[in-house]
Symmetry: C2
Subunit: 364 residues, 2 copies
């Protein structure tokens, strides 16, 4: 028998999976267009008009590669964040940067600690390194910091993942709480601190590019309204940014995204307004959910996770909403699998959603 | 002494390197703007007007993620190429897809065969897998297919890399020659066939998605004029696309690139015109180079590689051109290190380039 080219043992051990099904695939499945797109925590308030204008201009010269060093953008970030340019690495979304970060630390069979049911794309990217996962259950519907710490110590983990605020729960810790967690980490462990939603939270641990035990992940996908553009960055100790620069694709961040991100940084008023509108919308959505007899979790993000009582009820609501052209998502794993997760929409989207959900709950 | 989080042995073994320095970095170094950007084989004829219009439209909705399955685009490619959708995987440029392809095949210390001095980003991506490289020198200023084959057999290589047409030489093989090479490969070896420049060549091996020993790499960066957008694809056996789908970032190809690529596929007349103009320009540039006493290599691409006699002379010309605001590149390794490489420009760019090069050669 002929031998074919064979894949690596790690790739062979991976089960085919996709962390998220896109709304376009749902449209193809149902044959019905999505009317309300509230499932992926995209910003319904859009990108800054300055960013949109910059991106439309850049679209005229797509034939040129973008700057592989993203010099102007890193310079602007450096000034705004107060960290050296050398401690910033751009990537095509936090997903790519999480994957690269795993690849600089994880040998096969190294231990990784994360929360059971947290952002699945972290697990997805890490699994390509062939580590041993230790997944700590949620406690009180939020990641369990003491238990995560115990797991790190008990397994001599090289990497621990935490999102602050957390997705899909929406939970958030104060800077002091995060600092306490970080200070308790053993020296050999690095914290991958995913701050995709940090603009929506009430505060965050000050950046410290001299700390070799924390890598911070930030994105233009959420409050900046540029999810489709694939642009994010890490702030990390230079030892780690040097390592990331050894394996990242230097031309990987597209030129339009770079132009848009640079313009968006120059428009903090837009971000402030997005956050303010989101705060307003979250309060409104929370009150509506309570009025429907449902139990929203605390949220410091642009989404609200709501306990509807049981996994099967959550699944029924999800499917019934989809049949009405509403795209939301739900956490897949216990204890949050009795919840649905809704992105905070614009006022008219929230009104329409409330109307449709009311109808759905009446018929279920 | 405190132990810091340590990097993997592979990452520690890598020397910090970037396959290419961008023209923006050269501008920052010289303090002078680049007037003629002819170093990165970007298409100076630009993207299709249809693609530009589609990208500008898509820039209005950057807050939404792109379709992770790139369904419409893969459907259009499938129809145009006559291969199943399942045999197509999109990525953020050939660079990313080469890296992913190495990662599905290469265990540490596996043998890889490539041409000494070929496209450096292949080596860059492969090196992150920790393989043993066997680099076969050019013969007659082109990759040496028989010697590559001998190296594959002698080292039991898992992966062999070949670009057709080749970069930086510009050399090209007929479909029959490539087929002969492929048929002679041992069963356990996969050919990564980089066809970034295939639109400019006189023909190519027919696509065969049933062949488990060849992965084809195509891009929108060259003839389609979308280098800045980061979008490319592979055509491969479903075993391999399944494996790639286990480790690729599903949301990694940005939404504007998807919209632009789809529109560009609907405008074959633009590509035909780009290729025709490039052919014309290459003939003109070749004649000019000969008239200057220089030796252009055969080229089936959108660039011309020209032997100027010695490495030091090539370097002097490169630097003198840069001081005049002209960005070109040169192959770094022998025997092509006595060459300079120039992207075929638009008529007015070619005229300006000829004028500046004439001056430079006079003063050197």
């Amino acid at each position: 028998m002929k031998m074919r080219p064979i894949h690596t043992s790690i790739v062979n051990s991976l089960v085919a999976s996709t962390p998220f099904v896109g709304p376009e695939a749902l449209e193809r499945r149902t044959g019905r267009p999505i009317e309300l797109r509230l499932g992926a925590n995209e910003s319904p308030f859009g990108a800054s008009p300055l960013a949109i204008a910059a991106m439309r201009d850049q679209a005229l010269v797509t034939h040129n590669y973008g700057d592989p060093e993203a010099h102007e953008l890193r310079q602007a970030l450096s000034l705004q964040l107060g960290v050296p340019m050398a401690s910033i690495v751009l990537g095509a979304g936090i997903d790519e940067l999480l994957g690269l970060s795993c690849r600089i630390f994880l040998e096969p069979n190294d231990a990784v600690v994360t929360t059971f049911g947290s952002y699945p794309t972290f697990d997805y990217g890490a699994s390509a390194c062939g580590p041993v996962f230790h997944r700590v259950p949620y406690a009180n519907q939020a990641p369990d910091l003491p238990a995560l710490l115990d797991a790190v110590k008990g397994t001599r983990a090289k990497v621990v993942y935490l999102a602050n605020p957390d997705n899909p729960s929406g939970a958030w810790w104060t800077p002091d709480e995060i600092d306490e967690f970080r200070q308790a980490l053993p020296y050999g462990c690095v914290l991958l601190l995913d701050e995709a939603y940090y603009e929506y939270a009430a505060g965050y641990l000050p950046l410290d590019a001299d700390d070799p035990q924390v890598i911070r992940f930030r994105t233009f996908s959420k409050a900046h309204g540029m999810a489709g553009m694939r642009i994010a960055y890490v702030v990390a100790h230079k030892d780690h940014t040097d390592a990331l620069n050894k394996i990242r694709y230097h031309f990987g961040v597209n030129s339009i995204a770079q132009a848009g991100a640079l313009a968006s940084l120059s428009d903090p008023a837009h971000i402030a307004q997005v956050v303010a509108q989101t705060d307003l919308g979250r309060i409104e959505l929370r009150e509506f959910m309570v009025s429907m007899g449902l139990k929203p979790l605390p949220s410091h993000t642009n989404f609200l996770t709501v306990d509807v009582g049981s996994k099967s009820r959550a699944e029924s609501i999800l499917e019934a909403l989809l049949q009405q052209g509403v795209f939301i998502r739900k956490p897949g794993l216990p204890p949050l699998d009795s919840c649905i997760r809704i992105t905070i929409g614009r006022p008219e989207q929230r009104a329409r959603f409330a109307q449709i959900l009311t109808d759905v709950l009446r018929t279920l």
